[in-house]
Structure formats: structure tokens, C-alpha cells
Amino acid sequence: MFMAVFVLKRFGEFLPVLFMIITITFFLVRLAPGGPFDSEKRVSLEAQRSLEAHYGIDRPLYQQYTEYLTGVIRLDFGPSFRKPSRTVREWILLRLPVSLELGAYGLAFALAVGLCAGILAALKPNSWLDYSAMTIAMIGICVPAFVLGPLLVLIFALWTDWLPVAGWATPMHKILPAVTLGAGYSAYIARMTRGGMLEALSQDFIRTARAKGLREARVVLRHGLRAGIQPVIAFLGPAAAGLLTGSFVVETIFQVPGLGREFVESAFNRDYTMINGAVLVYAVLVMGLNLVSDIMLGWLDPRIRAR
């Protein structure tokens, strides 16, 4: 019951924020200098006018805005100005799944590596295992994707020819982008898991569990991890959102046909409808994932539920 109220309340905050985001983006992109049809070779005035009429940007701003809003309600974001062969909705449906897939692989990699490294380090604090795991994590945090990506390509594609350089056609193509995307996050997760686990393992309930004569594996994985993982869960929402929305660099390095590239390109091209559509999708994703992470926290931690 409490959970349902909590979810509903959060959902209620959702819509006004979304509305604000749509509105601000709509006006902001139109305030930026340069229009979608400015090009190096200038078109005739008549052609420019008919283009503007075709896409409706010759009408007063408020009228465009209300039309856009009614469109959004019907999930119709209009045609892409720059790439007219498809509508914005089609572009999003085409490109978003790729970004989601990449983000999911990246997150899976980050979690698997980060959790293992963190637990290992916490089990034997200040040992060589701890130091090496945390050093690798520190490096992972410091090395940006645009360095790590080409480095991995150099080693695993150009020197050894084990993996393809770029593209998204086969499962083999997806390994390097996923690793590059997840690496930085795995490092954060490792450090958080270590911290969380160290704190959890020194708690009374762990001593109780041990005193009950439970097997160490059960103590660590069931009782320790459940408490120690909480900072990671709290981080997971923003991390997942970051992975999904921050994949632009990785998509560029590996030629992944995802939404991140489309979004950045559309901003450069002043493709108004495409920018608005992409911002909307990202806003929903970020808010949705944060909501999920809040709910999970409540589910995992009886203290939060009780509050």
C-alpha cells in the first residue's frame, strides 16, 4: 500500500517535469542562431519560403508550440527536417533499441566486473587483491571512453584480429562497444561495492549471522551483499540513465547506429523536431530509471520502507 502511494506520488511529479522539459527545449532550440535550412549553398528565397511553409516554421511561435504539444500527445513528433525520408518517430524507433541494447550490455559488464572486484577487495581489505582491484578501478574512472575505445580496438582488432573494428552487425561487433561503455561505470561500482561491503561486514547483524554458524558464503552473499549493495543500487538509476544517454562517444568510435549520435547530429543540424523528440525520449528514460532505482531501494532496505 505504502509502495503504491510512493510510486503514484513520484509519477505525479513526473508529468510536470516532462512538460517543462518539452517546453524549454522547444523554445531553446529555436532561440539558437542558425535555422535548419541554412546551408553553404543558398537556396532561392522562394524555395526557402516553401520549405518553411512545408515544415510549418513560418507560422507564429505559439501556434507551432500548441501544434507540437498536440502532436506529442499523439506521439507524433513530425518529420525530420534534415533527413526527410523518415519521421522523427520512425527514427527514434529505429535507433533507440540499438542504444538501449548497447546500454544494457554496458550495464551488465559494469555490474559483473564492478560487483566482483568490489566484493573481492572488501573480503581482504588492504591486501594485494584489494590494492590491485582498486588501482584498476581508479584507472577505469580516469581513462575516458575516447581513449579506452581506440586502445581496445588497437589491441583486440588491429593487432590480434579477434574482433571487428567498428559496426553493429553481429554479436562480435557488440563486445568492444559494451566494454568501453561499461568500463568507467564498473570502476565506480567496484569502489562503491567495496565501501558498502566493508561497512556492512562490520555490522552487528553479520556477527550474529556468523555466530549462528552460517556458512561464510551465505553470510557474505546473502546478508553482507544485501546491505552492502545499497549504494550501488542508488547509483544504478543515474548510472543506467548515463549509460543510455551518454553512449554518444562510444557510438561514434564504434560506428554504432544508436540514438546518441542522432541526437548530437540533430543539434548541430538544428533539426528542431528531431532534437525535441530525442530530448523527450531521454527525459523519460532518465526519470523512469531513477524511479525504478528508488523503488528497488525501498524493496531492498526495510529501513527505507519503514520510513
Binding site: 542558425g34 532561392s44 526527410p84 525520408s85 584480429d161
Partner: protein, 536 residues
Amino acid sequence: MRCVRVACVVVFFMMIYFPILLGCSSGRKIPANVLQVGNGAEVQELDPHVVSGVTEHRVLTSLFEGLTDCDAATLEPVPAVADSWEVSEDKLLYTFHLRKDARWSNGDRVTAQDFAYSWKRILSPALGSEYAYLLYCLKNARLFNEGYLRDFSEVGVRVLDEFTLEAALEHPTPYFLSMHNHYAWFPVHQATIEKFGKIDERGTQWTRTGNLVGNGPFILTDWRPNEIISVRRNPHYWDGTAVRLDGIDYYPIDNQQTEERSFRAGMLHITSTIPLHRVEVYRREHPEALNLHPYYGSYFYRLNITRPPFDNPLVRKAFALAVDRNELTEHVLTGNEQAAPSLVPPDAGYKSDYQVMFDVVKAQKLLAEAGYPDGKGLPPVEILYNTSEAHRTIAEAIQRMWREYLNVDVRLLNQDWKVYLSSLNNLDYTIARSSWIGDVADPMNFLECFQTGVGNNRTGWSSLRYDTFIESAYAEADIEKRIALLQQAEEILLEEAPIIPIYFYTWKFLKAPEVKGLTPNLLGYMRWKDLYLVGE
């Protein structure tokens, strides 16, 4: 305790090394006899009358064919859909005889009506085509495109019969026949266009895989945006026996580094460009792959003559003379670029008479004459460029030259592409980096930009004498007299210096040794049916 640790260690190292565990071969097999081409940015569209870029040109020339084509070596017109043509005495009337075996990819005949329909389509104002201006040499085409004329029958194109087309020109245009390999002149299939929308409607679905009907050597078989565009042999193509490739795969790789790595890994046969810093490496290690050829493009700076100090022609000239172009091409640019003493590249049967050379003494003298001895009293000037590593490097070098030779405070301003265009269009700049790539191999294509009131002028400069020379050159049917007129026009342009020429472009790309039949030319035109692969 122990088993937890062992499990964690195993999973940890598995994840770290899972590329190795999974990796044994690097993915996709390249189909035999299919050319793999790196194609820069994703195409905007595959509609020849809507697009405006080079990447689109590469794809569209495989899918469509105009009345004539160009010989890749000489850029002279050769028969394509038209197998012969006659030109009237005054060079104003062209009669094309279309070959009877030219077919659309669905088997329909390519007729004269198809061309008339297509030219009407690109000239329709509602379509908003950026390249409609290439057809302005047709009689009344400009008036129709600008909306002053509603009746297309007054435009200079007439269908005499199913296979005969007549084109009446506004003025003699020596390059008229060489233009038809540009997509602006390509025919589109009327029934297909109208199945998906109106004649002047953009963004309909006719360009999708399965819908697109073309008349070129290849047909579209796959188009996955930002991934790949595949074309394969067109069984209905009239010159099918001459086509040696089974197909072409275009990869839209906009990141130059990614493209170069893909080439190194053997994924691509031809790239669209080379990252600046890799040129030296290839020159040293793989000179056979490196291709650097003269290109019909010019890199120059625009000066805003409506703003002081460049409202003074003496100041403009002083700035133009104080650029050491040879130092730039030798030490800053690495791809065999040539120093530019003029706007128009010295090719295609034309060379400027007047040359802007590096001359510090004269530059300082002119500056003194203008009232700024030793640069004293000159306000700070600002070089505007659009975001790019190369533009910044060049601007920094020129900034140093002007500071050193003219003692002027030069600042740099970087803007993103659209903001930059808007600054240029509104004359909201002092000095702006610019370039022009010839659409056709003719000096007029460069010089007509600087006529009074032309949209591409963007300097505020206007000269009646210049306009007169350009107009006379339009009307002149004699090739040599026309060249002389254009030279006189360019002399005025360089003398009054609303622009400062800097260097001429090179066409830079990487090509695998197994690709044969590619002839370099000024326009960077790849004639796909000439290309073939050996040793595969």
C-alpha cells in the same frame, strides 16, 4: 569464504577477458567482388532532387544516370542515356537522342518525358532543392524556381518524341554537357514518385529499399541508416556488360579515425578521407594506399567590407599580401595542398592572370597609405571559423603572420556550423574562413558567387565592372574570349580583395591495392562502372 573468493575471481577475470574467450574471428565476411566504401556522413536522403552533399553523390551515381556521363580522366562528356546529341550554331539549343535500350530498374523504358518531368520537379519551388540553381542555365529555369513563372512550358525543355529531348539554354554554357553526371540532372521515375506522393513533395517513401526505381548501373538492395547502404548489379542496365563489380557497400562512417581503423583492418577498400595526422604515417609506411590528388576546391577568407577596417580596399589588400601561403602549405597542411594565389584553381583550361603573392614590404606600405603606419590605429580584427581542428590550426598560423608582419591584434572566434552560417549570412563577422568546391569544372562556378546580390557573396562587396564581365562571359559563345572575360573579372575580385585566397584543396583518400580502374580527377568523381577488384 574460499568458494566466494574463487567464484568472484573467476567471474571478474571472465568479464575482463570475455572478448578473448568469445573472440576467434572478427565477424562479418566481406562478399566477393563487392566494393567496400567508407562514405563519410550518413546520407541525408536518396532523392537526387532533395540532397546536397558529396556523400549522396557517391551513392546516387551508382543508382541513377543522366543524359551524359563524364570520362573520369578528362571530365569530357561521354554518352550515357543519350547516345548522341546536336548543338546549334549559337550553342543555345541542344538536341539529345536517347538510346532505346535504356531501362529503369523495373524494366520500363527511360524516355525523354522522364527527363522533362525530373527537371520540372527539381525546379519546383515547393520542393526547395538546394541544387536547383545548377539548372539555371536552362531558359527561364531561374524564373520558374524563384516563383515568378508558373507555367513550366516556358522553361527551356521540350519533348520532341519519346526518345528526343531538346534543351534551350539561357546563354551558351560550355560545361552544359559535363554537368549531367550531377544528381541535380538525374531522371526520376514518374510513376514511382507519384505512387508515394506529389511531384514536389519531399520526404515521401519512394526512396526506401524496395520502392526506389533507378536507371543506374546498380540498384538499391539495403539501406540501414547509419549502418550500411548496399547496391547490387541492375539487370536492366543498358551497359551491364561494362559493369565489373557485383555491387558496392557504402558505410556511413563520419568519424575519420574510425574510418581509418576500418581501412587498416581490411573492412574498407576506399575511404572518404584521411585524418590529418595519419598522412605522414601512410606516406612513410604505406605509400601505395595513400591518394592525394588536386581537387577543384579553394580555401579562402572572406572579409566583411561593410565593417571597418575592411571597408578600405587598401587594408584588405595589405592583409591579403601578408599571408605566407607557401609556409602554410609546407608546414601546416600535410596533404600536398597548393598555395593559392587566386580564387579559381588553375585547372580546367583556366588560369588566373592576376596572382596575390606574399609581399610584406608592399603590405606594410599599403597599410601606411591607408592611414595605419606600422599597424598603429588598426582596431583588433577577428577570424571566424567553424569548429574544426584544421581550421583552427590555419587560423592560428595566419594570426601569427598578421601579428608579425602587420602588427595588428588578431583574435580567433570559433562557432558551430549553423551559428557560423548565420553569422556569415547576416554579415556579422570581420574575417571568416570559407571555401568553395566546384560543382562543375568551370571557373564560372567560382566567380558567379561574387556578383552583386548573389546569396553566396556574403561579403557585402559589389562591383559593377565585375558584374559586367561576368554577364558578358555568360553571353560569350567563344571559349577563349569567355576565358579572357573571366580572367578580367577575377582580376577585379583579387585587386579589390573582398576575399583572401589561401590554398587549393586536394582529394585525399585511402585505397586498397586490389581496387583498380579508379582514375583521379578534379571533381573527385568516381565512375563506379570503371572500377573493379583484383585478387579476391
